[in-house]
């Protein structure tokens, strides 16, 4: 075995463990019986501990340093080595003590969050969250950052993103989006009553499977199951699973969560399997992952072209529910813009206000300008300011998301970045793929999927988010693409006067 092969073998073993941990999580969310939880968290902790030991072992570090100077390696191999060395050095900053402490704190915090949300009592959660925030601040210190302690948190989900960059980006978003949403909200609103009729689960299920197949999701290398919070997960590019949920009184939940998770899964299925265990078969960042799910969910799945093709089959599946409804009515219903309380059910425009609120709160937490006890007040004030809504309870307010209880700070911004990248990539796809929209309106998703495979999926994380964006579109992330998309779409939907394109 060459040193590179030894390195690859070591990384594959670590991936085997991490992917096994993902199987445990998948099982936990889908099939695990109630009482299985106790030992499951212990089993997860054991795997995490072993994985941490293996990925910080001295021999691996030495091998990586040796390989770093090896000019006989191909460019791709050198990239794998360089990225792994960077990961290695980052992981070495964690002591086993810290890893164990944070794992325990997260377990307790998560349980407290569940209870607090259930009982609408933030004070049950606050002391645990406080401890966790303290540990995460400590983590920022030992990981290191240039300007803002929150940068170290962002870097975990979005390598190279900084607080300053995001402030600038969100500043522009706020300015443009607030005005635009106000115009929309002043127009007569569309209706969606027919989305809330009764939709039997078995028919919803079959319809969702059909949509996934149409997108190109490979059921030989994946499957769909049910979970209370839809997610996608990968155990290798040949076993990438999705989940969905079905609400018999709201068809939208299943349709767009299936498409969304399908988009994530197509990214994972498109990774080069021969790079298993290496950066060459890993996602670039959460924002690029999210760009894939949002592109399918919104740019494709909430477009008129997509439903020009699919509405016929939807109507024949749910004949009574869609009697006297047209594809255009359906298109309007799925794109109603309406400020609301809950992030996960927000429309694709006001969604970003939910993210900005969380970004501002997280930033404040890490610069210690707010403490945990003050979060409900800060939350409610910002919801009034950005969305004009009164938060009736903490359960529907500051307690709505799971993320903080997991210690995930810096995660939310990637949702917005993902939407913006999606708009920019999709605008480029329209330029490069002849008759793309026409293909979609004929039910042919292959040209789009092939383009994404070639432009995004096959590279693993050999690009950064920004490098990828430049490679594909010739420029850095530019919010104007999202605004152009929004302008074009919503001017039609809400009969607005066409706005001058931003670029």
């Amino acid at each position: 075995m060459t040193p590179y092969d030894t390195f690859k073998k070591k990384m594959q073993r670590i991936a085997d463990l991490n992917n096994t941990a993902s199987v445990l999580s998948w099982d936990q969310e889908t099939y695990m019986p109630e009482l299985g939880a106790e030992h499951r968290s212990q089993q997860q902790a054991t795997l995490a501990g072993i994985s941490h030991t293996m990925s910080t072992e001295k021999e691996l570090g030495e091998l990586l340093k040796k390989l770093s100077g090896d000019k006989t390696l191909t460019a791709a191999q050198q990239k794998n080595v360089a990225l792994t060395l960077k990961d290695y050095e980052k992981r070495k900053k964690y002591t086993t003590e810290f890893v164990e402490k944070i794992s325990q704190t997260v377990s307790q915090c998560f349980v407290a969050w569940q209870k607090a949300k259930h009982e609408n009592n933030f004070s049950l959660y606050a002391p645990h969250l406080e401890k966790l925030v303290e540990l995460k601040r400590e983590e920022s210190e030992f990981l290191g950052y240039e300007k803002h302690p929150y940068d170290a948190q962002l870097d975990m989900y979005e390598p190279e993103a900084t607080t300053a960059q995001l402030e600038k980006l969100f500043g522009g978003v706020r300015e443009k989006l607030v005005a635009f949403v106000n115009i929309i909200r002043s127009q007569p609103q569309n209706g969606d009553d027919f989305m809330h009729k009764h939709f039997p689960k078995d028919k919803q299920w079959d319809y969702g499977i059909m949509l996934l197949k149409q997108m190109g999701y490979d059921f030989k290398a994946g499957r769909q199951d049910i979970s209370s919070h839809p997610f996608s997960t990968s155990f290798s590019p040949l076993d990438v699973r999705v989940t969905t949920r079905m609400n018999e009184n709201d068809l939208a939940e299943m349709i767009w969560s299936s498409i969304h998770e399908g988009g994530h899964a197509l990214y994972e299925q498109g990774m080069p399997v021969e790079e298993y265990g290496l950066p060459g078969a890993e996602a670039i960042s959460l924002s690029i992952h999210e760009s894939q799910s949002r592109l399918w969910e919104n740019n494709v799945g909430r477009s008129l072209n997509f439903w020009k093709y699919n509405f016929k089959s939807l109507q024949s599946t749910f004949t009574d529910q869609f009697k006297n409804v047209t594809a255009e009515d359906f298109y309007k219903a799925m794109n109603i813009v309406k400020p609301s309380l809950i992030r996960t059910s927000a429309d694709e425009l006001t969604y970003h206000f939910h993210v900005m609120i969380r970004f501002e709160i997280e930033k404040a937490l890490f610069e210690k300008s707010v403490n945990v006890k003050e979060l409900p007040e800060m939350w409610n004030t910002k919801y009034k300011e950005y969305l004009g809504v009164d938060v009736p309870s903490d359960a529907q307010g500051v307690l709505q998301d799971i993320h903080w209880s997991h210690g995930s700070f810096g995660y939310f911004p990637t949702y917005s970045l993902g939407s913006f990248y999606a708009a920019q990539f999709y605008a480029q796809a329209k330029k490069e793929i002849p008759g793309l929209e026409n293909e979609i309106s004929n039910g042919n998703m292959k040209p789009l999927l092939s383009w994404l495979r070639e432009k995004v999926h096959k590279h693993g994380r050999h690009f950064t988010s920004e490098e990828l964006c430049i490679a594909i579109t010739g420029e850095k992330l530019n919010f104007d693409h999202f605004m152009n998309y929004a302008n074009e779409k919503y001017s039609h939907l809400y009969k607005l006067k066409p706005v001058a394109a931003a670029m």
Copy 2:
């Protein structure tokens, strides 16, 4: 932490890994998509390698030796230490090289077996099986044995069992059972046409769930799924799963495989959860495990009393199928004795001939009096001799079982031992539990389950099979109990003259 706590913690971590491997296997048999297989076997191999390293590490050995002399430990703690030390010493005999070699060989052998069975071509399998048998013979040598190399194989599944003991036991079985089956076969035969009507899967499923609940299987600590070969598996006493299969043209498959696997699962659910990772929460042997499944499947599940209670609900579930059928007809149909080709569908009497044939072949393989190429001929000759059937193809003959392709030699005898232990335990239960049969005929399984919990489940493997048998029944395994059970049951079913009880 005391040294005992350190030991316990180490064992729990190893159990976490092994139970995780069981989750992977469960997923593989139930939900894994087709293409997931490739990385799954690699993930399994990685877990097995890490588990082997952890359970043979020097520190564990030193700790165990230190604890072995510690008289301040409770008797149960001393037992845990002693048994773990024995396991440790056995595991230390395996080199990593051997572990990896056998794991590869098994993978190849299994694939070859599948293909050979599918194409009815033994020669595709033979060279792989030959290699595997060679490795297993080598294993017997380094593990060591007193008299027969096959003893070392038996010991893996049935600690302390020997070839000589089994030869003696099976000698008696053969003598008594051949004669008894001949008498039965000379009588007019009962019919079972109604078992082969059409039974819709969804109704079968619900009925099977009801039976499991009735037995006392806890669905909060388990679940049932579908797999092509039913099995049960445990990830902790609080997460013990079963699978079943359903044939719409044969109700028997679901009913008795669900009850059988339920019996295995009740054993695992009955283990003391605080002993997780230690011998105190492990099964004694495969034969004792099988005694639990067979007791529920045969002594209970194929008894008239059980169906006196349940036939009414069965009939109301499958009204048309059981029109004009009585509980007694149903009881007769589920107990037809008929020599056949396939072990897994054999009746509870001729079943043991299938086992004896395999025992004799395995013994011959390990004493090198037969080679792999000659197996089909040996198989077919013995089937003619013991069961009077002509084997029409190797697929229905020597290729029918998966076991050898997995390298499992010495496994089959535990099936028969399990049945014999079940008969002996059940005879004792009838003596000790007031009105046991009456309770069962009223659908009350609690007294039996409580008795099994107390007598078998709660002890983990702090007894050997033989010690447990003596503790419960006052004597070693005695085949006469099985013959008494068979005599009583089949004399009634086949209207034989009552045979004098053997004891």
